[in-house]
Amino acid sequence: MYGATVDPVEQVNEDEKLREFEARIGRGEKIEPGDWMPEEYRRQLIRMISQHAHSEIVGMLPEGAWITRAPSLRRKMILLAKVQDEAGHGQYLYHAAETLGASREEMLEALLAGRAKYSSIFNYPTLNWTDVGVIGYLVDFAAILNQTMLARCSYGPYSRAMVRICAEENFHKKQGQDIVIQMARGTPRQKAMVQDAINRWWWPTLMMFGPNDSDSPNTPILMRWGIKTRTNDQLRQAFVNQVVPELHDLGLSVPDPDLSFDETSGDWQFGEIDWDEFWRVVKGQGPCNKERMEARRSAHTDGAWVREALAAYAARQR
């Protein structure tokens, strides 16, 4: 039912099919499982969706670590709810990738073997409670901008997963913003903690939007096929324009000496991203890459006997 493959005895001209496919996308139609699609479309989507799923799963770790130290009962419950959502989002996304013929087993194997990518933002450490707030406020907001765009993507199951995820992600951003507002208006120590967290997370968050458009080889084909509808730089600028004034209103600064407001365009111009750091972290040399993978691998290995028990019980029931 899922993972329809191209009929090897294809009678119709491949170019003709491609033209039809692109015309459908041009008309704003959704591509659904079972529809004809270019192999490249399928490949790009599986790559994007599985990376997205892996990001949700790995993303549980930096914040999950702070549940035990959440400083109020309410914050404890909120963080538990958030981390659950992330695991759930991972599930929705693995499911969407499965509709394209990927297997969850293979995707997870690739992640644990270090072959699969996930959002590099999660390779940075959460040093204190404030990071939980800043991740919600900045990182999840960046994710929302990206996901809101993807909710319009041409592939049905992915766009539907995005719609569901966006609805839930809003609470993630707001709870983070709530923490930041609370602390920015709190004691001098709390305010200093927030500023320090912003200083550490600002640039990694901007890097979440990916390389500059000029360095993004995937972007043109993704735009053509309706998988992306806005470029990396467009999304990044939207993020900066929204968040900078809010931070300033809270009495917080952004760690960018080149930040300035351009009256003509209405944009907040910002400095150059350290692309060396970006590529280092993407390639696995970030501060926590190893730690994150170790944690997921351990959970997997330590849990092998549990999964075997489940399989044995199920087999006996049949």
């Binding site: 959704k30 909120i78 599930q91 209103d249 997997h300 999964r307 399989a311 199920a314």
Partner: protein, 186 residues
Amino acid sequence: MNDTQLPRFQVFLQEQEGQPHQDVGSVHASDAEMALQNARDVFVRRPECTSLWVVPAEAIYSRTAEELAKEGGEKKEAGGEGAENPGLSGETEIYCVFSKAKSAGTQTLVGEVQATSPAEALGEGIARFAGGKAPFAWWVFPARLITRSQPQDIESMFLPALDKPFRLSTDFHTQTAMREIRDRKP
């Protein structure tokens, strides 16, 4: 040994009484009871739900209108249709019939039929539920293979979601707070 591949179960959710069950996605689980519990944790963290079904994904017999047209033009040998479906009894039993009107959207329950095979159930379903405009695609499966939540489960499985308002963005008054801060500025 790769053991991350637990069997897949399709999940159908009924939001309110009187509404049809709809496909919301799938879960992986070792057996049907765990699948039902997983489905609740994945798909019903927030309201609304009155009934949840899980069905082994491999048991779902699916055809698009396009595929049916193609098959209709060829002569099919008897018995060839149901080969891919386990649990084929040959006895008459109830099948659930789902369809979706267009390529986009998700499968929705349209009714039940009695049949001795999935192919026959689909034929019955088309005859009874197609209406004026032929749906884009169909799913059928034996009702016997559904593992479902019971009405008495509603209060323990689904209602607690109502008591967790902090899962909703409306529980956080960040816009009000920011407006107050801005208004206080000179």
